[in-house]
Symmetry: C2
Subunit: 397 residues, 2 copies
């Protein structure tokens, strides 16, 4: 297994910081500046409009998609990159609705990320015609999959608790009922060893600014099972999803394969920044990342539980059942996290009481984990969170 010393050296990490928030926004790959500069100056600046062909901008969404594919067990040419995760969730749901002519229920769980639910609410309001959004507890997802369910959609790893759901079991139950499954990989891609091919999932979506380190607001991706793609309407029918975009025909004909899920013009500069990170990802094997992630999260759980009895672990203790984050509940969690951040250990807080720490083996090592444990231990043992300045509730990102 890689010791990840090499990969750590490839990120810019501010002096003295232990960055345990790569599950919210990954850090800057050192090469990103040069790669983006090259795109800006040598491509945009010098090639101008000819960059679309000469610099290969037009193919970038699929080239980048293929780099992501190997991290989530997807076959080549099953992923395209673009838009935001909210848009890709909407597109996946709309495509599923259009495919399922006789099934009208979208099923999800209370632990899904809220904006996935918002996308579905927006879609159901638009479609009317008997469509329905049903939200149940995660435990009851499977028993609620029946012949009326057009699509089950859920996030594989819970953004608050870090719990990893048994996607395989849910997908199998859905298949029995002819329901499609849309898997949100926001906290999976680059974090755990999800294998889309083995899961045989229908659709998956994800973002690239978390564990994939693509930068603030970097584009999303969508995966469609190659057995399904040519039967699926893209619904968000855009210029670059057309079979022959440069014919400028007034009739939309979807491209064959994953290209049909493309919509508008690719975000060239953002894709360049993302490529900087994916170059680092090319050097590692996701199974090694997963193994190291389990070591780091085990170390953190053990250390915090020994030193901080007031913190309640809400992440599953069994490695198979968690992603690459560890969360503790604590009634003064917001203030405690502020105290933590002030001491250079950056995690984040999620209402109402969750202190969240992400472990990203590409740049976090066991010394970092140790420092984080020590810092938390100090804060908790001395009640440092109990300081006026940490109590004021601010807007949390």
């Amino acid at each position: 297994m890689s010791d990840f010393i090499e990969t750590k050296s490839k990120f810019h990490l501010p002096e003295g910081i232990v960055y345990l928030d790569g599950n919210s926004l990954g850090p800057l790959p050192k090469t990103a500046q040069n790669i983006v500069q090259n795109t800006i100056f040598n491509e945009w600046g010098e090639m101008l409009v000819t960059g679309w062909n000469k610099a290969g901008w037009m193919d970038q969404p699929n080239i980048v998609g293929n780099k992501i594919a190997r991290l989530i067990g997807a076959a080549a040419d099953t992923i395209t990159v673009g838009d935001t995760l909210s848009i890709k969730v909407f597109q996946a749901l709309a495509s599923a609705a259009s495919y399922q002519t006789n099934k009208k229920v979208f099923l999800s769980d209370y632990n899904n990320f809220p904006s996935d639910i918002y996308a579905a609410q927006g879609l159901v309001n638009m479609l009317q015609a008997n469509h329905e959004l049903k939200i149940v507890s995660t435990e009851k997802l499977i028993e609620n999959i029946d012949e009326n369910v057009a699509a089950v959609f859920f996030t594989e790893v819970d953004y608050r608790t870090g719990r990893r759901y048994d996607a395989d079991k849910i997908i199998k139950a859905a298949k029995k009922n002819g329901s499609l499954v849309i898997l949100d990989l926001a906290h999976s891609a680059g974090a755990i060893d999800t294998n889309l091919t083995e899961l045989d999932v229908d659709l998956a979506v994800g973002c690239t600014y978390k564990y994939l380190n693509g930068g603030p607001g970097s584009p999303a991706f969508i995966y469609v099972n190659p057995n399904l793609i040519n039967s699926l309407e893209p619904c968000l029918s855009g210029w670059l999803g057309h079979d022959k975009p440069f014919d400028f025909s007034l009739k939309y004909t979807p491209a064959s394969g994953i290209d049909r899920m493309r919509v508008g013009t690719p975000p060239v500069i953002a894709l360049a920044a993302l490529e900087a990170s994916l170059d680092i990802w090319e050097t590692v094997d996701i199974s090694d990342v997963r193994e190291r992630s389990i070591q780091l999260t085990d170390q953190f759980i053990k250390g915090v539980e020994q030193n901080c009895p007031k913190l309640q672990l809400i992440t599953p203790r069994t490695p198979e059942n968690r992603g690459s984050q560890v969360s503790f509940s604590f009634e003064n969690g917001y203030a405690a996290m502020q105290a933590c951040i002030e001491r250079g250990v950056i995690g984040d807080f999620r209402a109402p009481n969750v202190m969240r720490f992400g472990f990203t083996p590409l740049f976090i090592d066991s010394q970092d984990v140790e420092k984080a444990i020590d810092t938390l231990a100090e804060i908790m043992s001395k009640d440092l969170w109990n300081n006026q300045k940490f109590q004021k509730r601010k807007k949390v990102t």
Copy 2:
């Protein structure tokens, strides 16, 4: 009126090039590299996740929206930036459909940009329930606006001919019938003196990589009339369109005002590049730009007509009826344009026979126009397009 010498000096224009394709992809503002570097290194690199608040990333879409607003006569806080134009067209159409409970027809014209039509086709297929897309000739748009029309959508300036439609007349006819109007400003924003407030249009959308010089794949924008916005469902209901995104509520409640049209995470790096260009736009008045654009296009039309009798003007001769581009039809237009590009005069070609030249006063002056005329005259008088190497039809961007 500004002589635009100052603004021209602010763009990187490759040596010896006359760039008449800023209506497809605007050139690089010289400050873009530094501004993007600052965002990448000092914000993403150093602030990490705290950049969302500290660097103001979260507010960027509206700050940038307000900078665009003054160029198209929109009031403050009526524009937000994000996604692609295809997505914003879809969102505008979907919102209009949801607003118009009893009107089911989307009306557009054959001269609209194809992907606007694709967005509507995708939406109509999704909605089913008696919705219909009706496409007529531009001349017949107004007579086809009746009580069944939910929304009329058209592009103010035709992407091939450069013809500017009488938006005011169409909007007035639509209002009489209670139809909403969605105006596509792809070839208006930064090109002509469209005034959304005076037009009292309902919705408008546009892209920023053409005349606004935001860079390849820079984000789109959407405008909603302030009298309408709070009655409009955003349909693409995303996290950042929520009234309180950081409450992580499972119920979508749209933000008040233009914020509800936001969807996912803002494309921070792309927005930084766009800001570089908008800083230049801040220094000019759009009425001066329009005046200069008319001078330049008049000069070009006159010069080409005098020197190139084989080229047929398809752009209206009356300045009020055109945008900031001039197009000629010529059966060997593809080859002639290739010859032109080889000589450093970059325009583009649109099937079947359109040679298109964009005039962007921020960086094109009358000497450039003269050079373009001379180059075209040489090509046409010596039949230089009749060279084997220019005949091969390639993929055109």
